[in-house]
Symmetry: C2
Subunit: 339 residues, 2 copies
């Protein structure tokens, strides 16, 4: 039986991550992971007429890069699971339309890549398809315009704020082994957790309780201790959320401090790049996973990782109406295939 515990699945035939791709903007290219990305676009508009078009372009380019690297014809992709942060997922709609692949549109805020990898793996493991694509994107400028202020206003960002990553990550989840010795062994699906935090400039604090809830559920469902994983990697908690997450889990006697990593902390160097608490956005965990974490897993440097993209479920309307910012986090258990 693949059901384990209340929130998790463990796959008997664990799907492979066949290939993955990451395309990013200039700032991400200048960060510590710059050398690992497939493509770096030096210009934020990517030659398009609007920030939203640029984000769609990144999704399209990520998928084209993915297909080229995998040498797989698009007709072999049965489903795309994709999402972004913009209202009504327009980056996705205009980014994937040309491929004419059946699409499941997803919204999980910055947890979307975890949601997409989960559903892709579930469909592959169930035999519903040979290959599915999971994808997520974000763009600094389209996100600032969507959630905060147009860039031209030059608003000040508090130190707890994160910097939305410009980038799109995509991966082929497959029944067959491709270019990586990496498999998705299981998933832990997150639920909404709301501690009542209302500060949209401190999304780490909003999301950390959800990350703690999903990590605790994963350890409980799989009946393992934190050292079962070489790394437990959240999406975009940043430095503030990292501290809160470790504190919350310590209160439950779960100590992940020696193996916690956060994509938002890894992707930028605050001292040099003025990014404050770290990177964020759907694209943050997607491109960091594809460019860096996959490399570590493929080489066997890490044998087993719990990947937990984290999402803050706010909209400009909910925020301005004084609502809290609930969080959600989707866990994916990913292993080196020789394990």
């Amino acid at each position: 039986m693949s059901i384990v515990g209340r929130q998790s699945l463990k796959f008997k035939e664990a799907p492979y991550i066949y290939e993955c791709a990451s395309v990013v903007g200039k700032k991400e290219g200048e960060g510590p992971l710059g050398q690992f990305f497939d493509r770096v676009f030096e210009e934020g508009m990517c030659g398009c007429k609007s920030w939203e078009e640029a984000e769609s372009f990144l999704q399209k380019n990520s998928l084209e890069t993915l297909l080229a690297k995998s040498e797989m014809p698009v007709s072999d992709i049965r489903y795309i699971f994709s999402g972004d942060l913009l209202g009504q997922l327009i980056a996705t709609s205009f980014g994937v339309a040309d491929f004419e692949v059946p699409l499941f549109g997803l919204y999980g805020a910055c947890s979307t890549y975890g949601e997409g990898l989960s559903l892709s793996a579930m469909c592959v493991a169930a035999g519903y398809c040979e290959n599915a694509v999971a994808m997520a994107s974000s763009h600094f400028a389209s996100a600032e315009k969507q959630f905060r202020f147009p860039l031209g206003y030059g608003n000040q960002r508090p130190l707890a704020a994160t910097y939305t990553v410009t980038g799109a990550g995509s991966a082929i989840v497959s029944r067959s082994k491709g270019n990586y010795n990496v498999r998705i062994k299981g998933v832990t699906t997150g639920r909404i957790v709301d501690y009542g935090v209302k500060d949209s400039m401190n999304m780490g604090a909003c999301m950390a309780p959800a990350a703690a809830d999903t990590i605790e559920a994963n350890l409980r469902d799989f009946n393992v201790e934190p050292d079962y994983y070489d790394k437990i990697i959240t999406g975009d908690l940043g430095s503030v959320g990292h501290t809160i997450l470790c504190d919350l889990l310590m209160k439950k006697n779960i100590d992940i401090r020696d193996r916690h990593m956060d994509c938002g902390i890894e992707i930028f160097t605050e001292e040099l790049q003025d990014t404050h608490a770290g990177g964020s956005g759907c694209g943050c965990s997607a491109v960091t996973f594809n460019a860096y974490i996959m490399r570590q897993l493929n080489s066997g440097q890490w044998k087993r990782v719990l990947f937990v993209p984290t999402g803050a479920l706010l909209s400009p309307v909910s925020y301005n109406e004084g609502k809290s910012v609930p969080g959600i986090a989707h866990g994916v258990v990913i292993e080196h295939a020789d394990e």
Copy 2:
């Protein structure tokens, strides 16, 4: 094998629709299907402080009604697949948070209920859960504010426009037979179809090509003629989209005119309710399906239905930036269980 054709799945053990619920606003209650809805809220705000809160209230109330009717404890629901039309799915986030059930947030515009029923059935059929809930909502006032103008502006609606349904529909998809003799036999997952229509006040025209594409794919994948179905039921094409859909399919020698039905046309009476081309919104197909179509299927009045909720993939930003309105439609094959 459950895979049929390029876009479809046929379930060996077809999941049941165990129970369903529909809660709506006053105008829907006054329409021709009024007697069939579980609850009608006479006041648009539903006692809340904003339109968005009211829509969240409808999701919450729909789920409470569903659980009460099914006599199922919430702990027996393993997954919720839910979505709405608002930016970043806030109606869903605030509507389902209290239930503490693992959530997959979906965005398929007004096709969301088809997307949710599809993924719920896929998860149940794969053995990933005993029960999953599919849900979708919309609210006339929150949608007008989101996509067009605040109600107070009193803007004029052209005759091709549809009227967003206020309501939330939810259903338990289950391995077990519940209160209905109705099963989900298969799904046909839609892809994005864009004919370049830019008029967001004529969403029927925007979505009809996607509906035609999915219906054609379903007939091809299952290798059947339109008369295999007692009804082919789209989500919210309205009267304008209905005509375009039938014309587009006739050009491919597919004649569905004698069995096409549209939830948007059924839910209101234009002559009496001034709703122009019909109803629309995620909630339109969800509550019409749950309140009326399920009744017809359960009684055996209809033996087999192709249910095709249709979505228009626009956002206020994409529309104002002059982009077209692509469409998507997800098909679900639903049968009377004695079939």
